[in-house]
């Protein structure tokens, strides 16, 4: 899918220029030719192809209720989560995948988006449209502020700065900001909230307050369709960004920022825009979380939640378009399905084996499921980073290449 060779890209990626020691190691490896800026500056693909891709992606997403059935994942809540965290990861990839800036604080924007959406449900209207607009904007404002400060540094310093900001948001939201966030319990929509816009049209009285899209309640499958539509739009925008001159610029920054600066580009505005865009994606994801389930908890801002989106992106393949989405699906699947598997389920699953062998198989597998699902995740993650630095997307590409019999040509879909 992706146009450049991700492995090489990652290997030479940026953070080397600013470290003395890595500098020693990689001196000889820094690519000696300029990134091919010239001819590639025009969009590589006519929009028609983009639209085709988006449609294909859309078909895959909208048919999830069918093809996820055999995996036991075709129920609304999990599919909503696939779509929402897909958006989050795709947005994160715009920053990390394209520019190489590793943010460890993106969950803060997700949380901010959720809080903004719930407040919109409480004060304005249960309609999702104002909530989504509001939370994307507010997340964008926060991203602009935090990004402006954090982007003054790069490499690990940038990571630590974003981490610090996100942790401050989380700690305050959990404790002293409880009047705004409702702390531990999480901010909820209540029956007696004002909802001024709804009151204007005379419909602020509801038995159970639920987010709705002009009368269509956003629970169950309706919620999933809404998330899926947002995911498609988000995917298309990400696609356009990647293909645009702006996207090429960001890649240029990734492969060598210093050189970009020498050529005369001021890179800061570009990275800042990327940061804001990805923050807005996170805000959108946060808003959707609140749309399908009107509760905003502080835990979704914790640094481990930021770490999770990093895991998703890397697992799927940073810098690719589909990778982050695949990663998001995989991790959410683990969290929800693997965590519910137990000893007996395994025995049933291995029932085709003879007794002794079955017990052995169960005892091997059982530490990795149920309460051990974190372990599986960790192992999988380590393996991917070691053997597939380009993530699962690279894995698929390698398999594809194998089938085409050593065809060395670029596999850009």
């Amino acid at each position: 899918m992706d146009t450049t060779n991700t492995t090489a890209d990652l290997k030479s990626a940026t953070m080397d220029a600013d470290t003395h020691s890595a500098h020693y190691h990689t001196k000889s490896e820094v690519p000696t030719q300029l990134p091919p800026l010239g001819p590639d500056m025009r969009p590589l693909w006519p929009p028609k192809v983009d639209i085709l891709m988006t449609v294909l992606f859309g078909i895959a997403v909208f048919s999830m209720p069918i093809w996820l059935q055999p995996f036991g994942a075709a129920y609304p809540d999990l599919m909503q989560r696939f779509a929402i965290f897909g958006i989050f990861a795709i947005g994160f990839n715009i920053l990390f995948g394209l520019t190489g800036y590793l943010s460890f604080g993106h969950a803060a924007f997700l949380g901010i988006g959720s809080y903004a959406a719930v407040w919109s449900f409480k004060l304005l209207s249960l309609n999702v449209v104002p909530a989504i607009i509001l939370s994307v904007l507010i997340a964008g404002v926060f991203a602009a502020a935090i990004g402006y400060v954090s982007l003054r540094r790069s490499g690990i310093y940038f990571s630590i700065l974003t981490l610090a900001f996100a942790q401050m948001c989380y700690n305050l939201a959990y404790s002293v900001l409880t009047p705004i966030t409702n702390g531990e319990t999480g901010l909820r929509v209540l029956r007696n909230d004002p909802r001024v816009l709804d009151a204007l049209v005379g419909s602020s009285e509801v038995a159970i307050p639920r987010a709705s899209f002009f009368g269509i309640s956003m629970t169950g499958m309706a919620g999933f369709w809404a998330c899926a539509v947002c995911l498609m739009i988000a995917f298309y925008i990400a696609l356009r960004i990647t293909r645009s001159p702006f996207g090429m610029m960001l890649r240029g920054i990734k492969s060598n920022q210093t050189r970009m600066a020498y050529v005369g580009f001021n890179t800061r505005p570009y990275t800042l825009v990327a940061f804001i865009v990805s923050g807005m994606y996170a805000g959108l994801a946060g808003a959707l979380l609140a749309v399908v389930d009107p509760l905003a908890g502080a835990e979704r801002m914790q640094w481990t939640a930021s770490g999770e989106v990093v895991l998703m992106t890397i697992l799927g393949g940073a810098g690719t378009l589909l990778g982050p989405f695949i990663g998001a699906v995989l991790i959410k699947y683990f969290e929800n399905i693997f965590s519910a598997l137990g000893h007996t389920t395994l025995s049933d699953a291995f029932s085709f084996l003879p007794d002794g062998v079955r017990e052995f198989a169960v005892s091997i597998v059982s530490p990795f499921v149920g309460e051990g699902w974190h372990l599986t995740l960790g192992v999988l993650f380590v393996l991917v980073v070691i053997f597939l630095p380009g993530g699962l997307a690279e894995g698929f590409r390698r398999i594809g290449r194998m089938f085409r019999g050593g065809n060395k040509s670029e596999t850009s879909s």
């Binding site: 129920y75 959990y174 979704r300």
Partner: protein
């Protein structure tokens, strides 16, 4: 190191099958007149699925494991396997030991991670995919309140696990949520007089409080209860959740003129703050001519285990203790002990009882239709479940029963014998008016997951 048997979850596969069925049901035809017949997750086959949502990761994972053990035992007993446990001692009881309403009980489990978000996601999986008719469990008030709201929105009954905040059955109470566990207010009412009796009425208390909702409600309840008995409150200090090292909060206590330290902490925070307070020599200090004392208003066996030596002689309250001598406790402890080789914790007890109570209510109502089950639970007066005569109050879905004041044992005879029951405070003394915390239960009929 103790190794436990892994939970058996035979219901899982069936659950998966049901998920397909639920999903296939179009979403519009379950309103109005059909509601009674076709409510959310109405059990269709020969079995009924319950959802047990407990922390499996994070710091409460061991407590979650104990809750799960209790749930499995409850399911066994409901299905007529094993020795029946409290099925034999509960009165009045409509339970027959043949499942619920003749349907075999199966169950699915989930991981709350002790996070509101994750707990709701997991609960929704149970409801949407596994088709549970009731779900329960959990080890924190935030999680309980979040799940209870979800229960109300979707129309599936939630039977709270361990949750101690006043809000659960106070300002955040819900028609679809029920709590058997006691709360911070009751802790204050039960503990206050005992403290006054043991430590005297002329005391100055210093509160260290976990800086989140549960901590605040407990601080308030204990403060009110002790001040009503003549104590002064020297200072209340909020500590960040998971602070680890509490030394910077503990040292000012020594010079504040206070002679009692009240630790409104739970979980790891409680283990660490108590251990460290003892290390700072607070147990052997004399202030204002009196022995310095430490109080931990909410105790749990696992935390007592974690704090080790430090709990000796420390007062607190508890919902239940396996060393009580009534027949309900004896029956439950016996079957739990035989099954797992250790006595049950209070978290396990409350989860076990909640499951039985739900099952009994469904039997009484003669249907799984939630509004009817809820009505059967509301105002239900029962006995023989280890807490003496107990009332499930209709106004706020809070159980009223005796509260235990417990004390860390000086010479424990075994690793399970860390707390001793100092006093059983009668139910009348901890009963309060339902309206003091505000809140609103909400409607019986909700559009539910089918809407």
């Amino acid at each position: 190191m103790t190794k436990f048997e892994r939970p058996s979850r035979r219901g899982f596969l069936q659950g998966t099958a049901i998920a397909g069925a639920t999903l296939a049901v179009p979403t519009f035809f379950t309103r109005g007149a059909w509601a009674q017949a076709n409510f959310c997750n109405a059990p269709k086959g020969a079995s009924v699925v319950l959802g047990f949502n407990v922390p499996q990761t994070g710091s409460y994972a061991d407590e979650g494991a104990d809750e799960l053990r209790a749930y499995q035992l409850a399911v066994k007993h409901l299905n007529g396997e094993g020795d029946g446990g409290m099925l034999n001692t509960m009165k009045p009881s409509n339970l027959k030991g043949n499942g619920i309403l003749g349907k075999k009980v199966e169950y699915v489990t989930g991981d709350t991670q002790t996070k509101s978000d994750a707990a709701r996601a997991s609960a929704r999986r149970m409801i949407e995919k596994d088709g549970v008719i009731m779900f329960g469990g959990g080890s924190s008030s935030g999680v309980a309140i979040a799940q209870q709201s979800l229960a109300q929105e979707i129309g599936v009954v939630y039977m709270c696990g361990l949750t101690h905040s006043n809000d659960t059955t106070g300002k955040d109470k819900r028609r679809y949520g029920f709590r058997h566990f006691f709360n911070a207010y009751m802790s204050g009412e039960a503990l206050g007089p005992v403290l006054a009796e043991v430590m005297g009425k002329d005391r100055r208390a210093y509160h260290l409080t976990a800086d989140y909702t549960w901590g605040w409600t407990q601080e308030e309840s204990i403060k009110n209860a002790t001040e009503a008995l003549g104590w002064e409150t020297a200072q209340t200090v909020r500590t960040p959740l998971g602070a680890g090292d509490f030394s910077q909060y503990l040292t000012p206590v020594l010079n504040s003129g206070a002679d009692v330290l009240i630790l409104n902490h739970y979980g790891n925070d409680m283990v660490n703050s108590l251990t460290q307070a003892v290390q700072f020599g607070m147990r052997d200090k004399q202030v204002n001519g009196k022995q310095f004392e430490i109080v931990v208003p909410l105790y749990s066996e696992l935390m007592a285990e974690g704090a080790g030596e430090a709990v000796k002689g420390i007062f607190g309250t508890s919902n239940w203790d396996w060393k009580l001598t009534d027949e309900g406790t004896a029956a439950f402890t016996k079957s739990f002990g035989q099954e797992y080789g250790r006595p049950p914790s209070q978290a396990a007890h409350t989860c076990y009882v909640q499951t039985l109570l739900y099952a009994n209510a469904a039997e009484t109502a003669g249907t799984f239709y939630p509004p009817e089950v809820i009505k059967a639970l509301e105002g239900f007066e029962f006995d023989g479940m280890g807490n003496g005569p107990t009332l499930y109050r209709a106004d706020d879905h809070q159980c009223f029963k005796d509260v235990l004041v417990v004390r860390g044992k000086e010479n424990p005879s075994s690793q399970f014998d860390l707390l001793e029951v100092y006093k059983v405070v009668p139910r009348d003394q901890v009963t309060y008016k339902a309206d003091i915390f505000g809140g609103e239960l909400g409607p019986y009929e909700v559009a539910g997951c089918a809407a």
